[in-house]
């Protein structure tokens, strides 16, 4: 055996072990860094997971959601097409898998309901989407601060009226969906 062989094996083994360990834990683990904001009211939001778009079978697929900060948003995600999906929410108006706040797997069995609860601290525009179908399943989540209603109006105003209408539409009895609770908002 050459004199360098044991040294080479020693170094290779140590580097492989250390390098792999760093590689394994380099994964940030996402949302664990962020914590859920305090809240004193809750709001249920129903989302149907369909590869063609969120709530694809409703009149408005991929709806823009208007919600308030410091409210516990209870997303009721209903699997619709037997395909794997995620509900991923990240700040900003673009999809980003690296700084998500929420990323939950929706089992690929039609009818499965997954509740995803989160309360946001900061107002602003967020993106909700599916990591498996990022092209089709993507929408905006607009959060206004709980205290001021004026911000609410100013964010809502630049939007086309038909979308602004939907906000009020939520409690309409014309919902195409059967699975509804009293407190539910169907977009």
């Amino acid at each position: 055996m050459r004199k360098t062989t044991p040294l080479a094996i020693f170094v290779i083994v140590l580097l492989a072990a250390g390098g792999s360990f760093v590689w394994f834990v380099e994964q940030s683990g996402g949302s664990s860094a962020t914590t859920i904001a305090p809240y004193n009211s809750t709001q249920v939001i129903v989302l149907y997971a369909n590869y063609q778009g969120w709530n694809y079978n409703s009149s408005i697929p991929n709806p823009t959601l208007y919600e308030k900060t410091h409210v516990l948003l209870e997303f009721k995600v209903i699997e619709q097409d037997n395909l794997p999906h995620t509900l991923t929410i990240n700040p900003g108006s673009n999809e980003s898998a690296s700084n998500y706040i929420v990323s939950v797997n929706i089992p690929a069995v039609t009818g499965t309901i997954v509740w995803v609860n989160w309360s946001f601290a900061n107002p602003g525009i967020y993106t909700y989407w599916c990591e498996v179908h990022p092209e089709t399943m993507v929408g905006k989540l607009v959060l206004n601060s709980t205290t001021s209603n004026t911000t609410n109006a100013s964010v809502a105003s630049p939007l086309p009226p038909e979308i602004a209408d939907i906000v009020g539409y939520s409690s309409s009895i014309h919902s195409p969906y059967a699975l509804r609770d009293a407190n539910e908002e169907v977009w």
């Binding site: 492989a16 792999s20 590689w23 394994f24 940030s28 898998a97 797997n105």
Partner: protein, 545 residues
């Protein structure tokens, strides 16, 4: 046309690759010629490889470009050792993070990545890889191979094994080594079921390599052994490989197929989704191989004990026939017990009882071996050396692990300890004490050969032994007790009442880690000293180099 920078870079890269390829080829040819001597290097490869694979051969990176059985063995030994340290560090990382009840320096996602990497790499990379390595290395000498004709196939299988391990490392899957649906579909921060997809491909590559290598071992043993060796005096290590190889060939393909379906499921779930009860179908297909793999990890270790014990006690093995019978019974029976992993999955009471019974029965051949070893030690005079220490420790650890396995195979007790650390303790006793212990015992026995005439430093080797032995006891022992108290396995955090067990086990993990580190340092230290002995070893006595 003017000067193109890209073209220049491209051209010189290709030129360098060609030169490197030529150099590699030259080294290989040169190394072969040096080993074989002038006369033999003119022989056709089939025959010269047979000569090479019966020489006493040392660790060398040239083995990676030669394809006789001994070289393939050296490749696997180096690779699986590296994988052992990768997976071991992951294990120690998990243990340390569990010092506090709340997830400490590892987030749950990171913990799951380490858990999956540890389980998969330890079983497929270290246990299976190490066994392939020792078999390729030891078989040709122990059965005096006449021709070594499948070098190219073995070589390709080795590269598949290596690529498979890399796939497992790079995929960062979080699905645990079961890859159960829907966990396998779980999405983590780096996106999509893609993670598990990579691991699954890795596992499939390794399984294919393992199956093909097993066929090669059977061919070596049954067709290519020397005429002077009849089945009635085939070395027990070879018998253990026969048993292992048949077990692998009979069960691994099932897992390969299941993994293939599963990969398809990640794209379009139609096979194993829970809706029509077929999640259980995957579990059954998986455990049809999942149980045999744990015996694949122990039967060759049995073979090594059978081979080494007589040499350290100065007697023949107490009963050769009982040994062969035990190894062959293990092969047959351990194919029938996989259902004991599914007692809580709804196979039904009758099936549960059947699998419980077969699991009790499989203890019989295991005990036959244990008593055979005890009898051998009883009639002979034991020479206490480092390998003997490992052997005795392996036997004791196997008894503890085996008994806890038989307890877990009782349907009632299983309700209590399924999914707890008692199970983790059950198999770590065996996998650390027996599989890993015997692998290191073999490495110590082969040390002068592998390092080309150096002795290992005995005090350091003893420290290695005592640390790993004590570490196994502390870690698995506290796991076992905690498990019976209900401490759940596979969690990144736990209830505060279990902290004593978890902390004690963490200390055990650190002790283990120190032990293996000392092995590495010993290897470096002793391997770099001047040559001091011959290159023979007691496992390959007949060999002339």
């Amino acid at each position: 046309m003017g000067f193109s920078f890209e073209l220049a870079v491209f051209g010189s890269t290709i030129a360098i690759l060609i030169i490197m390829g030529f150099l590699l080829y030259y080294f290989a040819v040169d190394y072969r010629r040096n080993l074989l001597g002038n006369g033999n290097s003119e022989l056709p490869k089939k025959e010269s490889n047979a000569i090479l694979s019966k020489m006493s051969r040392e660790l060398s990176f040239t083995a990676f470009i030669m394809d006789d059985s001994k070289s393939i063995g050296i490749r696997y030994i180096i690779t699986s050792l590296a994988l052992f340290f990768i997976a071991g560090l992951a294990g120690i990382g998990m243990r340390l993070s569990l010092w506090f009840p709340n997830p400490s320096f590892l987030t749950p996602v990171q913990y799951n990545i380490l858990l999956t990497a540890h389980g998969t790499l330890m079983l497929y990379g270290w246990a299976v890889g190490g066994i392939l390595g020792l078999s390729y290395y030891l078989l040709p000498t122990s059965i005096r191979l006449r021709k070594d004709s499948l070098g190219v196939v073995s070589s390709i299988m080795y590269w598949m094994f290596l690529v498979g391990s890399l796939f497992i490392i790079f995929s960062r899957s979080t699905a645990t080594w079961y890859f159960y649906y829907p966990l396998v579909d779980q999405l983590t921060a780096s996106g999509g079921g893609t993670l598990s997809f990579g691991s699954l491909i890795g596992v499939m590559l390794i399984l294919v390599a393992t199956v093909v290598s097993s066929i090669i071992f059977l061919k070596m043993i049954f067709l290519d052994r020397d005429e002077s060796i009849r089945l009635s005096n085939l070395p027990l290590f070879a018998w253990s490989i026969v048993s292992t190889a048949f077990l692998i060939i009979a069960s691994a393909p099932v897992s390969i197929i299941a993994d293939g379906f599963l990969i398809y499921d990640l794209i379009n779930p139609i096979f194993f989704q829970a809706a029509n009860g077929t999640a259980l179908a995957y579990a059954i297909l998986f455990w049809f191989w999942g149980h045999p793999i744990v015996y694949v990890a122990v039967i060759p270790a049995f073979g090594l004990i059978y081979e080494l014990l007589p040499r350290f006690t100065g007697t023949k093995i107490y009963s050769y026939k009982a040994g062969v019978l035990s190894l062959l019974l293990l092969m047959v029976l351990s194919g029938t017990v996989w259902g004991h992993h599914l007692f809580n999955s709804g196979l039904g009471t009758v099936w549960d009882l059947i699998f419980s019974t077969t699991s009790f029965i499989v203890a019989v051949p295991s005990a036959m071996s244990v008593f055979n070893w005890i009898a051998t030690m009883w009639v002979g005079r034991i020479r206490i050396t480092v390998p003997t220490l490992f052997i005795i420790n392996a036997i004791i650890d196997f008894i503890i692990g085996g008994v806890s396995g038989v307890m877990a195979a009782d349907v009632g007790v299983n309700q209590l300890i399924h999914g707890t650390y008692a199970i983790t303790a059950h198999f770590h006793f065996i996998l650390l004490g027996l599989t890993t212990g015997m692998a290191f015992a073999a490495i110590y026995v082969l040390f002068p050969t592998l390092t080309g005439g150096r002795n290992y430093n005995i005090p350091m080797a003893k420290v290695h032994f005592y640390l790993t032995s004590i570490g196994t006891w502390v870690m698995s022992g506290f796991w076992l007790v905690g498990g019976f108290a209900g401490m759940p396995r596979r969690v990144a955090g736990y209830f505060g009442i279990f902290q004593t067990y978890q902390d004690a086990a963490a200390i055990g993990g650190v002790i283990l880690g120190l032990g293996y580190l000392i092995f590495l340092i010993n290897f470096l230290y002793s391997g770099s000293r001047p040559v001091e002995t011959g290159t023979g070893n007691i496992l390959e006595e007949e060999v002339s180099a």
